[in-house]
Amino acid sequence: MSKKILIVDDNGINRKYAKSVLSKIGVDIFDVDSGRAALNLMGKHSFDLVLMDIQMPEMDGFQTLERVKIDYPNFKAPILAITAFYGDDGKSTFLDAGFDQFIQKPIKPDQLIKIVEGWLSQEQVIEEWTISKNQEIIDKSVYNEIKKYARGEDINDLYSEFEEESTVFFERLNFLITSKNYPEILSTLHVIKGNSGSLGINELASKAEKLEADIRSNVTLDLRERIEELERIFGRYKQEYKQLLNI
């Protein structure tokens, strides 16, 4: 599969230039003219590399990068800053902000290709939730995060409550697939996804998310089997969570 590159630049000529140069190395190129549009597109595709202009109206490159960090905390693709100007602080300003590299404009075609190929050749794991089979059903780092903020509060009852609430949701899902009530199936999956994700039950969250997305794009094949798969993961949760959390 070819790699996906996102070009963010308000200047159409710059975008055209980058596109024509990079088309030579067989990558899929997406281009947008604002930070906002870039953020929207990042939600729809997994990118392997982002080239971002700094001076843009409304949201500049720094603001866009900040927003990427907030909206897509798992965004792993390198984001490179491209600009003709930089202040007295020099390149470090960009690296401090979190850009992976600073590229000064104007840039010659062969240089741009060299930089892009350099980044793309590095192995990147781009996945929302990285899941391995041996992983515990509850991501302890999420649990600890909740615990940190809830301090002395008993947070384990959230997990018992999740069990109760989800049991009802799965009963409902089984009923809904019989009647092929897709809007209700979607909204139920949606709540399961949000709840499990927020509690760190990552495998369930990511599988529910995938299923939700597929139904939205009218892929409803094997729906029953896929919901059964979610139920199996939930079953594992029910078996293991108390021991895991020492309840």
């Binding site: 906002r36 953020l39 929207n40 939600g43 729809k44 907030i70 909206d71 905390p73 999420v142 995060e145 909740i146 940190k148 903020y149 809830a150 301090r151 509060e153 947070i155 009852d157 959230l158 409550e161 999740f162 609430e165 909204s187 949606h190 709540v191 996804k193 949000g194 709840n195 499990s196 994700g197 927020s198 509690l199 760190g200 969250a205 939205r216």
Partner: protein, 127 residues
């Protein structure tokens, strides 16, 4: 001893798991939480009391979070200017503009990032 001043936060969220999660976490930010399970109930409670902040799920039964936000923003008095933080499990499927267009000041995505939650709550309840 100085009296602790509580910030009154209205949380509109249909999932009780997320409701309680927010309650437990925001308790330590000196927030007093009022919960509403759908958009209409949230609007009713909003009318009955004065709040400092609204946290609003986007996908709510009866009146959705975007509609409820627009309703609040239609108030021409001070109540209509309350900070509203949206929560969405689907932010990625929506253009981000719609949250701001509806009148939300900011938004959080599910799964919740707790650092970001605290940061936003602090930001909008400061002063």
């Amino acid at each position: 001893m100085t009296e602790v001043e509580y910030k009154k936060v209205l949380v509109a969220e249909d999932s009780s798991v997320i409701q309680n999660l927010l309650k437990k976490i925001l308790l330590f930010e000196n927030c007093k939480i009022t919960s509403a399970k759908d958009g209409q109930l949230a609007l009713d409670k909003f009318d009955d009391e004065d709040f400092d902040l609204v946290i609003m799920d986007v996908n709510l039964p009866s009146v959705d979070g975007l509609e409820a936000t627009k309703k609040i923003r239609s108030y021409k008095n001070k109540k209509g200017q309350i900070p509203i933080i949206g929560i969405s499990g689907n932010a990625k499927n929506y253009p981000t503009d719609i949250f701001f267009e509806a009148g939300m000041n900011d938004y959080l995505q599910k799964p919740l990032d707790y650092d970001q939650l605290i940061e936003l709550v602090k930001k909008y309840t400061a002063g």
